[in-house]
């Protein structure tokens, strides 16, 4: 069969249909197909379900901010700085949008400068959603949040930093925004502010700058202005850390000098050492500045007569000595013309050398006779001490290091426990022994300040309990020494010059050096 024949036949059939059949039949067909279309033309379920109930959920932050007439200037600013694209993107953000009125108070210089305006706008935007409702739900008074420019702002239930919330918790597709009555100006951090000063506090600043160093090949510090590390930053406070919160006291040059002069005599150095950090200037200055940072923000109205420093020292505060203050992005700076530290209370503190820190000995073969013990005193407080017994060596000694020994006069105390009858098999009876201390040398004066505390008897302390021997014993004042040069030296504990077991015993809980002028 040829295909054309089929086609013709088909056509004939159709023609016949149209010629033969009346309207009634058409109607039937029409009804049939009409009822079919009714079924087909059913509304799409998903279209109904995915229709947005809350229209705001389809608006980006930018679109929503644009819709608010009172935020028009901020919206313009967003476009100008390119942050409009950020607020249209598919992450979530919180925006604190200042009103037009608030923006008028911002310096034109800030808004017109490309760099500054970007920083300024970014200071109002943070990643993720932050709402008052969530603060309330979590019983948080405030939360510190990093903005897109890296600075932190403090968002509380009623405001953010110094600005108050006008409208809040307005949620849209990609985040939340709040309307605020004041712009969040970009503050310098403490480091930036202080370094930018030209008048006050130059001595303190310069000293801190002089602490820049790098490490050489052997790991030793090499101080230079271009150093990437800094003693102050590493040991006291990272004042350029935006996340931190500090109260920083910057001394005027007079105040700095005054404190410097008070302390300088304790850091007399005679030897010539290449290292900057062993100079008298370095040591004295360091001692002046090390206690000038607190790790909380204490606004002036909350400032009392003292402030706890990061080093645990109470900084004496006289509010009248505050020359000026600055609210930085990571804290507050007080420039003061006087901070009168009490030298012996705050700065030049007694030095305690624990007996157990004496870890080198006159002979290396007596380890079986050397004990680091744990004992309890008469109050039940535990302490560790060093106890050397039965060496059968005359004048056996143990040695430890004293660091940062100020150049001044000290009273020397020790605390030593004699509980020999309990601790060793022989002697079985209570027996007293003698021991002495040596500074710098075990035998004699090679340095000017070297001194030997003469042999002093350590009396039997008569412990009451073999299991937990406690004996009433106290610090014993031994005499005074004078140290002429600041630095490091050795402390020797030396046994009696006899060989009898029990008589050449060494026992030392600690040695205390109390500076007296």
């Amino acid at each position: 069969m040829e295909p054309s024949k089929i086609d013709l036949k088909l056509f004939d059939d159709l023609k016949m249909y149209y010629m033969t059949y009346s309207f009634k039949k058409h109607l039937l067909l029409l009804i049939f197909f009409a009822s079919m279309t009714t079924f087909i033309s059913c509304k799409d379920n998903w279209a109904e379900r995915t229709e947005l109930i809350n229209k705001d959920n389809s608006l980006t932050l930018l679109a929503k901010i644009r819709q608010q007439p009172e935020l028009s200037k901020f919206a313009d600013l967003l476009v100008k700085t390119g942050y409009d694209q950020v607020l249209e993107s598919s992450k979530t953000f919180t925006v604190w949008a200042p009103t037009n009125e608030a923006l008028q108070k911002v310096a034109a210089a800030t808004l017109n400068d490309d760099v500054l305006s970007k920083l300024f706008v970014a200071n109002h935007i943070v990643n993720q959603s932050y709402s008052v409702a969530l603060l309330k739900l979590n019983n948080l008074q405030e939360e510190r949040i990093q903005t897109l420019n890296g600075k932190y702002i403090t968002f509380g239930q009623n405001g953010v930093d110094e600005a108050k919330l006008i409208k809040y918790d307005l949620a849209v597709k990609n985040g939340i925004f709040h309307e605020i009555d004041a712009a969040l100006e970009v503050h310098q951090n403490i480091s930036e502010y202080v370094n930018g000063l030209t008048a006050n506090g130059q001595k303190q600043n310069n000293f801190i700058k002089s602490l820049n160093y790098d490490l050489d090949g052997t790991g030793s510090k090499v101080y230079s202005a271009s150093g990437t590390r800094n003693d102050f930053t590493e040991q006291i406070a990272r004042l350029n850390n935006e996340r931190g919160q500090f109260t920083y006291i910057l001394l005027t040059d007079e105040a700095f000098d005054q404190e410097y002069n008070k302390l300088n005599k304790y850091f007399k150095v005679t030897k010539t050492d290449a290292r900057y950090d062993s100079t008298s200037v370095y040591r004295t200055s360091w001692n002046v500045i090390k206690d000038l940072v607190a790790t909380t923000i204490v606004p002036i109205e909350k400032l009392g007569t003292s402030l706890l420093s990061s080093t645990g020292i109470n900084i004496p505060i006289d509010k009248s000595a505050i020359v000026s203050s600055y609210r930085a992005s990571n804290g507050i700076v007080y420039i003061m013309n006087k901070v009168d530290f009490n030298v012996f209370q705050d700065k030049i503190r007694p030095i305690v050398i624990e007996g157990e820190s004496l870890t080198s000995y006159s002979q290396n073969d007596k380890s079986g006779n050397i004990f680091t013990r744990i004992r309890a005193d008469e109050n039940g407080l535990q302490f560790s001490d060093k106890f050397i017994s039965g060496t059968l060596v005359a004048s056996f000694w143990a040695r430890g290091r004293i660091n940062n020994l100020y150049s001044t006069k000290y009273q020397v105390y020790w605390r030593a426990l004699n509980d020999q009858a309990w601790s060793t098999a022989t002697p079985s009876a209570p027996i007293n022994f003698k021991q002495k201390l040596g500074f710098s040398s075990a035998i004699g004066a090679t340095l000017p300040y070297v001194d030997i505390i003469p042999y002093t008897t350590v009396a039997y302390n008569n412990p009451t309990d073999k299991i937990r021997p406690r004996a009433p014993f106290a610090e014993v004042y031994l005499g005074d020494i004078t140290v002429n040069t600041w630095g490091t030296t050795f402390l020797y504990a030396i046994g009696d010059a006899v060989t009898n077991a029990g008589l050449n015993t060494i026992s030392l809980d600690y040695v205390k050096l109390v500076p007296i002028n």
Partner: protein, 1064 residues
């Protein structure tokens, strides 16, 4: 709120109006009654006369046979008139002719009649049903029975016999399992009668029970190997469905009804060749609107914030870092539509050849089919080869035999489906983050051919899975029987059927490590996974019977059979699982790590012996009565069963049934009621039973147990020697009615099924070491109604339009339980079964929107208690669960019934329009009022995981005073906002244009071809539903405790195909 239920009902109502309107139009008498002259004849030879006409054209028909069975017969002449000898004027004339329907006309003392005949395909009550003991006309049947003549089913494709039945039988709820080719459907005939046993009808093919059970679970998650796919619907001639107690001659396997499938045999001796070829397209489903990258990133950043991530942690995540210098920038900044990557349009092909013919001694019908049907998930397909040889032999004068031999082989490539979140590509296609891509990029944004690994959210790469995973199923089935029949005398015949069924199902599974999320075993991390399984089934079947058939005085007809059936089934399942082969190139189980390999299996063998006696009696073809009884033994029954009969220490179920029918329209007082062609009232009552209680449950058995490396045997159950069949008492009342010269016919049945001795897994004391014991302590009942209507709406000239409606409804109710309630969980859903309620109701939390603000939530005072007893209150944006017990704590005690997976009613509309050589068939199916639990949507709208979410989640609660029904983003869902609640219960009502076929019969001038036809068919063309998923039709397992749960199976899809059939 938009009410779907009303909407669909309205549309159904509209449709019904249209149909009824046409039916009304059809009722106008349109054929002129011809006056018939009657000649008186002598008493010795009384005759009936009349005219037979064509119902369509009104022209008289020549050569039509008019007969009084067993007495006389005659033909019509060229004017259509006939004259036939009759014994008296109360007989029924049987009128038939080639190309025309058969019709029975009761004379009702009339001496002349006029009748008009429709074409043979016309749907009428004079059609035969091929029932359990042979063919029987529906108008003479007393049972609730439906018959479907497939007419070769030439126009359809992608169908298995079970899915084919959808919408064709009133009361048979066919739920297609998924869109995978060949996976078939769950068949629920008149609801269900049991909680824990099989609720599928028994299937009998050519007189032999067809084992339609899947033995053991598939290694491929969510897959069901469908035994019925081995029967090609084109080989089927008739499917008869027995719905009531008359099924009880199948004894303890009859409680869910019986579906009798008869395959086609050669009808003529001449050699006929039929060849058909089809090709078509399968279309991808409409996508679920998922978030794109922008929305998703906002969602994720809110979610992470809610989970306590700090801003800097979030900013450091690779997909939040927008710096292009970041080497992984391009791998995390995409906008991928993963649904596109999973679904793909595909094609289907089918070729079928059938040769029939033979001679006086032997007739044969040989058919062969090849099908290649690709799925809509990429890289899935099914190839099937099937062949059938049906033969009829006249071996001797009184000895005949027929053989039905079929072999089929199918090979299918699949992927995991359903509850396998790591390896189900359809699920992964939804939940996978759009930020990622299938391939990896280098630091400059250049894409590479290397596939990406499982992502940072622990979601597999579906492309890697689709390209490298191998999940294959190979199924072989031989199903064959030979039936010998010997006619002992005119009345007695002896027949025996011997059949064998051999089935092998081989599965290979390989899940690669590349691109997939690892699995966690008890002692190792499984990277790649390998598995093998072989399932074998061997059954031997015999049905031997003595039958008796006699007509007395032309008035009394008696047919009876006495026989027995024996069925022996041996099933075996062996599997091996391996893990961590050295590379993804080693894909066989043996290459996995030795230490992790697992072997296992199962053996099930059982025997069934069914003795039956059945008798049909009719008087004057007006009064019918049938009775049957079966005596049923099974190796599954406990020896101390409480019911039944004990013979030789073995328990037998005794299952009697009786039915009666009265053909009112054949009564004389109806002779002047011209409008009524047929009116029959039927009733049946009897006992059926269900033997699916487990092969060994009644006995004591032991199972192997590994304890710290020591192998041993432990008790596997508590034996219950009293365990017996579930007994289902069935009552049915029906009416069959044909009006206006059969232009309108209707069949209505109401039924009541009552189950007693229902199998229950009773929880027992934990000191026993076992969780439950099997007992027969339950009971339930199912009431319902089936309705079928057929109408010839247009019957004029060259036009014919037939329309039909099927409708079914049922209600179940638990009547007896040993405990207060049974809870079953599946996919985090809980079903409750409780006395006085429907059998499987969704039991969960009720919700009432979302708390608009923290103040709202605080005012409600509601909270939860965590597992360690800490109370947590709801806050703004959480779901407001209904505190039904008023204790201000939302917990298990607040659960209520929130849905019912059973439909209020279900059924179909069908239309057949024919005009000259054209015809259009359209079938619509519907289900109304069934609730679905959208587990899939629960995962993509949970607002608590990193899974991609639907666009509806853009409506989530974000700030105080927002009124919405989507809760806020909260990582890990600490308040349980996404728990099993009415938020996920949806109306599953749907109306679907299931199939539309246009057929054109080419005119043949050539003698070489007998005929040629062209088919254009579309499946699932549109589906009207409010369901928020790919498709509202699915069934994860056959259990009633998984019905209505959308576990993300491959959805139903649209397809169109063009077919050509030629006859030689």
């Amino acid at each position: 709120m938009y009410n779907l239920n009303i909407d669909i009902k309205q549309k159904l109502f509209t449709a019904a109006l249209v149909v009824i309107g046409f039916a009304g139009y059809a009722q106008q008498p349109d054929s002129v009654k011809a006056a018939v002259t009657v000649k008186e004849t002598g008493k010795a030879q009384i005759r009936a006369r009349g005219i037979i006409k064509d119902a369509l054209t009104g022209k008289p028909l020549t050569g039509i046979t008019v007969a009084v069975p067993g007495f006389s017969s005659s033909f019509t002449d060229d004017k259509g008139s006939f004259s036939v000898k009759v014994p008296d004027y109360n007989v029924t004339l049987v009128i038939s002719g080639p190309g025309y329907q058969q019709k029975d006309i009761a004379l009702k003392s009339r001496k002349q009649i006029t009748a008009s005949l429709y074409e043979s395909a016309f749907n009428s009550f004079y059609d035969e049903a091929i029932s359990l003991t042979g063919p029987k006309q529906l108008n003479k049947s007393t049972a609730a029975i439906s018959s479907v003549f497939t007419e070769g089913n030439w126009s359809l494709n992608n169908e298995t016999p079970d899915s084919y039945l959808q919408g064709r039988v009133p009361g048979l709820n066919v739920i297609r399992r998924s869109g995978s080719p060949g996976i078939g459907a769950e068949l629920f005939l008149r609801g269900f009668n049991s909680l824990n046993t099989r609720n599928q009808p028994l299937i009998v093919v050519d007189g032999m029970v067809y084992d339609n059970t899947s033995y053991g679970n598939s290694m491929i998650a969510g897959h069901v190997s469908n035994p019925l796919q081995n029967i090609d619907p084109k080989d089927i001639e008739n499917i008869t469905i027995i719905k009531d107690a008359s099924a009880s001659i199948y004894g303890a396997r009859s409680s869910n009804g019986v579906i009798v499938i008869t395959t086609s045999h050669a009808k003529e001796l001449t050699t006929k060749i039929d060849f058909a070829a089809y090709g078509g397209l399968n279309f991808t489903p409409k996508q679920i609107p998922m978030m794109e990258a922008g929305d998703y990133r906002i969602y994720v950043s809110e979610l992470l914030k809610s989970g306590g991530y700090t801003d800097s942690q979030i900013a450091a995540l690779p997909y939040m870092n927008d710096n292009k210098v970041n080497p992984s920038y391009y791998n995390y900044h995409n906008n991928t539509n993963w649904q596109d990557k999973v679904f793909k349009e595909s094609y289907n092909q089918n070729y079928f050849l059938k040769v029939t013919g033979g001679d006086d001694i032997a007739k044969y019908a040989l058919s062969m089919g090849v099908t290649n049907n690709k799925g809509i998930t990429r890289e899935t397909d099914q190839q099937r080869y099937n062949t059938r040889f049906n033969a009829d032999f006249n071996l001797a004068k009184k000895l005949t035999a027929n053989a039905n031999l079929a072999f089929s082989y199918s090979e299918q490539k699949l992927f995991d489906q359903g509850l396998s979140p790591k390896t189900n590509p359809v699920y992964i296609g939804l939940v996978k983050s759009p930020l990622l891509a299938a391939n990896i990029f280098d630091g400059n944004g250049v894409t590479s051919p290397l596939l990406a690994e499982a992502d940072t959210f622990s979601v597999s790469n579906p492309v890697a899975l689709i390209e490298n995973a191998q999940l294959k199923s190979k199924v072989y089935r031989f199903f064959g029987s030979i039936n010998f029949k010997y006619e002992l005398s005119k009345q007695f015949a002896l027949s025996t059927l011997i059949g064998v069924n051999y089935d092998k199902n081989r599965e290979n599974v390989f899940i690669p490590r590349k691109g997939t999320v690892n699995d966690t075993l008890s002692n190792a991390i499984a990277q790649n996974r390998l598995a093998n399984q072989v399932q074998r089934l061997f059954t031997v079947y015999n049905d031997t019977r003595l039958s008796y058939n006699k007509t007395f005085n032309n008035d009394h007809r008696l047919a009876a059979s006495l026989g027995f059936r024996f069925n022996s089934t041996d099933a075996e399942q062996d599997f091996a699982r391996g893990y961590n082969s050295p590379t993804d190139q080693f894909i066989s189980v043996g290459t996995g790590l030795n230490a992790l390999r697992k072997l296992g299996g199962d053996i099930g063998s059982w025997r069934w012996l069914n003795n039956y006696l059945t008798a049909d009696y009719s008087y004057q073809d007006k009064y019918f009565i049938s009775g049957n009884v079966s005596l049923d033994g099974s190796s599954r029954f406990g020896k101390d069963a409480l019911q039944g009969l004990k013979l030789g220490g073995v328990a037998f179920a005794v299952l009697p049934a009786i039915s009666a029918g009265w053909l009112v329209s054949s009564e004389e007082f109806m002779k002047n009621v011209d409008a009524v062609d047929l009116l029959k009232i039927r009733a049946s009552f009897g006992l059926t039973a269900n033997d699916d209680i487990g092969n060994y449950t009644a006995r004591q058995y032991y199972i192997s147990q590994n304890l710290l490396g020591m192998q041993g045997l432990v008790r596997g159950n508590i034996a219950n020697p009293q365990l017996q069949w579930e007994s289902v008492r069935k009552a049915n009342l029906g009416i069959d009615l044909a009006l206006f010269n059969e232009r309108l016919s209707l069949s209505l049945d109401v039924y009541n099924n009552k189950t007693s001795k229902m199998l229950i897994y009773e929880p027992i004391e934990s000191v026993s070491g076992l969780a439950f014991a099997s007992t027969n302590n339950g009971g339930m009942r199912t009431n319902g109604l089936d309705l079928g209507i057929n109408a010839r709406i247009v019957n004029q000239g060259l036009w014919r339009w037939d329309a039909g409606i099927t409708l079914g409804t049922y209600k179940t109710k638990i009547t007896e339980l040993p405990q207060e309630a049974i809870f079953n969980t599946y996919a985090d859903a809980t079903y409750i079964s409780q006395i006085g309620r429907a059998a499987n109701l969704f039991y969960g939390y009720k919700t009432d929107g979302v708390f608009a603000s923290n103040a709202d939530a605080a005012a409600s005072g509601l909270g939860i208690e965590t597992s360690n007893g800490i109370r947590r209150n709801f806050t703004g944006g959480d779901i407001r669960f209904v505190d039904t017990n008023g204790d201000k704590v939302i917990d298990d005690k607040d659960r209520v019934v929130i849905g019912n997976p059973n439909p209020d009613f279900f059924g179909s509309f069908s239309n057949h329009v024919a005009w000259k050589r054209w015809s259009i068939d359209a079938q619509m199916t519907f289900s109304v009022g069934n609730d679905l639990y959208n587990y899939t949507r629960r995962n993509i709208e949970s607002v608590s995981t990193m899974a991609n979410q639907t666009l509806a989640v853009n409506n989530r609660w974000k700030a105080d005073a927002q009124v919405t029904d989507i809760p806020k983003a909260s990582l890990g869902d600490p308040m349980g906002n996404s728990r099993f609640s009415d938020r996920w219960i949806e109306d599953g009502s749907y109306l679907r244009l299931r199939t539309v076929t246009a057929t054109y019969n080419l005119p043949m001038k050539d003698k070489f071809l007998k005929y040629a036809k062209i088919y254009l068919t579309a499946n699932n063309l549109f589906t009207m539903t409010k369901y928020l998923g790919y498709d509202p039709e699915f069934s994860a397992t056959g259990s009633i405790y998984s019905q209505g749960i959308d576990t993300t199976l491959e959805p139903q899809f649209r397809s169109v195909q063009l077919g050509v059939r030629i006859g030689l």
